[in-house]
Subunit: 549 residues, 2 copies
């Protein structure tokens, strides 16, 4: 039996498009002799559909895709992901299902039983958990069909769940496990995914065919990396990251492949390469799916905007990126020079727009309202906001989309001006700590120095007052990032972090800054998610909370 | 037995404060002869604590409040809400519990079984559902202790749930039902709440003592309205809306009260009064809990900013509100006159800051970048954004918090400038449709004309180009709001709405505007929730979705 994995880039709610790419993959798989072609979780509607699932009309449109797929299945089976109705009145209205279609009929379902409801996942908001598990006969074989999280309770050892669907399915002696997933990227996820798939294959002594989404849905990036793992737990094949792929595998050949090297079939997994490729894909799909072509951003001469510019150029083509250099009276000479040099090296068009005239008129006009109070954060923010207005005017007049260049360290402690440098439709680096932005710049420069070295080596500064340096008000970034990681990713308490050897005053001040700035992050653009705990839907905290503030 | 209901305004994560108000209420209840004092759901930490629940340290702090409450209970019982640990490894780590403390011991728990995971609720993200239900003996009576949603599956007829805890508890012949709730306000919720409590009391022939939160937590407003309903289903008492209250009831007296009028004990429930009071409380608590005193907003001469100004003045005192009038070349004379008149009538300080100088310098400086393109939305938005920069400068210099004045109709269709008139820390009217804003202005004016009639009767206009009217680009508001309500609140499809008699082109255009502007709403301030479906945490839609766009 030949099984095809179709790792595609679906568009949420775009039923016509989703149907068309499924249809094409079915034809391709058929041509390559496949008996069965497997698509990812909720493939007919895209993932995550969120509250669209509450619209009856949306569900009907999902069902109509299934109807349109039936005629394609005279000789080939299709497994697609689709929300299907719960016939019982009690419980949630829908199941998150894998649907097996063959000979123009739906011949079986698997209802997802383990519904992730943590971090970015809200599945119990919409779905009733499946409770009965049956293998499905198909062309003389038995398929153990599962949906995503259903294989993540290996040996019933995941404390989140009380069921293990594969334990039930395994009793019916299936020939292989099929899993359809929507497994979003973070830089450690591909390795964890392989571990889990491997653990399943070894426990049940069965090969697994695992199809994942690829492509970004605003903040969530799906890396693909669909898998065929044999019963020995060896990766027979891992499909590429961040690109669509269709590949056909022979079950017998997979079973026969013994004694393979442990690293067989795996894609390379260096952290900075993964983050880089994820961000490029994230920018690309944001523009592509919203129907935009051109990005704009402000180049400050610092590392964050430089890295953002390069990622944008790689995602959209340098000719589709515009950089504005907007020096103020406090900008150092090298800020403009370094930015110009970057644009020249990368082939990115740029314009220089000094902000002094706009800044001056605000200061002058507002002077009667300022009651003689001295220069402070007000004037700093006016500079940042004048830049925001300038960039947004370019967006309005020429159809650019503004990219936000904030990094995760800044977003965490609120080091940024709302409606100023926090403007933008997409926050490219807001899940990348400052220390990681440096590593990313080195990765970008690995073959040739695209980012001028001076941008990487200079001391970080917002340049909003004379001689200002980030480190005047923030702890050094390597210290700051280490503390932030413990608090944000590991959710440790101040006491835990202090006990690990960090200065108590700095720890308390840092955590206070994080919690005090929830209001600011609430209004930030979606942040491309590359870590296990990104700002946005995966981290929900009260704005008015008085905890550690 | 005397039971006190303590309807208090807790502050999320502020354990010291929450303990102090519980302690004071226990003392007051004791002094009034109460045997038992009942506090709302998750009272020790405030509701909703959201992802703070994922911090071990936060849970320890909750537990420490319980420890500190024990010594207060020598002669009086306390029911408080608290997250408690799930001793089993499997499942979520916590229960959402009602804890009965008496004679310096925890003498019983009720673990919430029905975990709302829809709209603004995310309870299954954190909590394991309770599965065993026991009444608790207390001072010779048996208490059926329940948490919020647990009483919302009356007669097992709520399709969301498969359990009914009260069915189990009723078998042990309790003397009364106690319910601790965090039931957020919308303008129909108080009536629905009474219906549900009444249905329970009638079904089980038992009186119920129901304690609700009061006060706002950013976007979520809790109205109080705690209840005592007798076994006949008559409201013996309903505590006031939007204010703290402690009241002691004699169980025997409640049981003895027969043949009361059906409307006995109920608070008045006119929609506009409720919305008005909710918004005032929402503004008040946002400032109070974040430690701010003073609000600022831009007055355009239109009805939305006028109503927002009055609500702010009622919440914070007129002397703590500042209005900026920021006319442009396109502002009509009456805009400034009407706004000045409003400020005078309401006693709100104001300043007039013409924006022409800032607007002109932007247009002039950016002219080389505009490639000779004509006046369009760019220049409109520059006006709105210059106002945003001006207001935010006032915030930075003087410590004001900017109030956003957008209404729900505008927020729905994206009729507003991001980083311009969409600036602000809190969106006061963003869950109030334009047609409701008119009703609200009439309610505000019911005793005397605080809002000049001209502001109410003039045609709505953003005044960003000559002679502009909202109705040039939007359907008439009564039509628009009716369509929006069907789509947003009722989640009807375009086909449903068209079938109900609305023009197909207008319906499709309206729904397209709603779905196309998800990106803009994503960056909006939290909106005070007064309807069943508000923008924000209760409505989660993909930005890149291609559904009905």
């Amino acid at each position: 039996m030949k099984i095809a994995l179709a790792q595609l880039n679906f568009h949420i709610g775009n039923f016509e498009y989703n149907f068309s790419i499924i249809e094409k993959s079915v034809a391709d798989a058929k041509q390559q002799g496949a008996d069965l072609v497997v698509f990812p979780e909720l493939s007919v509607c895209g993932y995550p559909p969120r509250d669209f699932l509450e619209f009856e009309d949306f569900i009907e449109k999902c069902e109509s895709v299934i109807e349109r797929l039936k005629p394609l299945t005279s000789t080939i089976g299709i497994v697609v992901g689709c929300p299907v109705r719960n016939p019982k009145i009690e419980g949630k209205d829908l199941f998150n299902a894998a649907v097996l279609i063959y000979e123009q009929q739906v011949v079986g379902y698997a209802h997802k039983a383990l519904l992730p409801t943590y971090d970015i996942f809200d599945e119990y908001r919409y779905f009733e958990p499946g409770t009965s598990f049956k293998t499905l006969p198909f062309k003389g074989k038995r398929l153990a069909l599962t949906v995503c999280e259903d294989i993540w309770n290996v040996g019933n050892e995941n404390p989140l769940y009380t069921h293990c669907p594969m334990d039930v399915l395994a009793q019916e002696s299936p020939d292989c496990i099929i899993n359809i997933s929507a497994s979003p990227f973070d830089h450690g996820q591909a390795a964890r995914r392989i571990d889990v798939v491997r653990a399943n294959t070894q426990l049940y002594q069965l090969p697994m065919f695992y199809a994942n989404h690829v492509g970004a849905q605003t903040d969530l990036i799906f890396d693909g990396g669909s898998l065929v793992v044999n019963a020995e737990g060896i990766v027979f094949a891992e499909l590429p990251y961040f690109e669509e792929a269709l590949q056909v595998f022979d079950l017998e050949e997979v079973n026969a492949a013994q004694g393979l090297d442990k690293a067989h079939g795996e894609q390379p997994k260096e952290k900075m390469r993964l983050i880089h490729d994820a961000l490029v894909k994230g920018v690309q799909d944001y523009f592509h799916k919203l129907g935009f072509q051109k990005a704009i951003l402000g180049l400050s001469g610092g590392i964050d905007s430089a890295v953002t510019a390069i990622i944008a150029a790689r995602a959209l083509g340098a000719e589709n990126v515009k950089c504005l250099l907007m020096p103020s009276a406090f900008s150092s000479d090298h800020s403009v020079d370094d930015s110009v040099e970057l644009c020249k090296r990368a082939g990115i068009p740029y314009e220089i727009v000094p902000i002094a005239p706009m800044y001056d008129v605000f200061v002058e006009q507002l002077q009667p309202l300022m009651e003689g109070k001295p220069f402070d954060v007000t004037e700093e923010n006016i500079q940042a906001r004048v830049r925001g207005v300038t960039l947004m005017a370019m967006c309005n007049k020429h159809g650019y989309i503004l990219l936000n260049t904030t990094n995760k360290s800044e977003a965490a402690v609120g080091y940024g001006t709302l409606y100023g440098d926090l403007c933008g439709g997409l926050a490219v680096l807001a899940d990348v700590y400052k220390t990681e932005v440096y590593l990313l710049s080195e990765y970008i420069n690995k073959d040739n120095e695209v980012i001028p070295r001076n941008i990487i080596t200079k001391a970080p500064s917002a340049e909003l007052r004379p001689g200002q340096k980030d480190q005047d008000t923030l702890p050094p970034y390597d210290l700051l990032d280490t503390i932030l990681y413990q608090y944000i990713e590991l959710r440790q308490s101040p006491a835990d972090i202090i006990e690990a050897g960090f200065d108590a005053a700095i720890v308390r001040r840092t955590l206070r800054m994080v919690n005090k700035n929830e209001w600011k992050r609430f209004q930030m653009a979606p942040a491309l998610r590359v870590s296990v705990k990104s700002f946005g839907m995966g981290r929900r905290l009260p704005i008015e909370g008085e905890y550690l503030t």
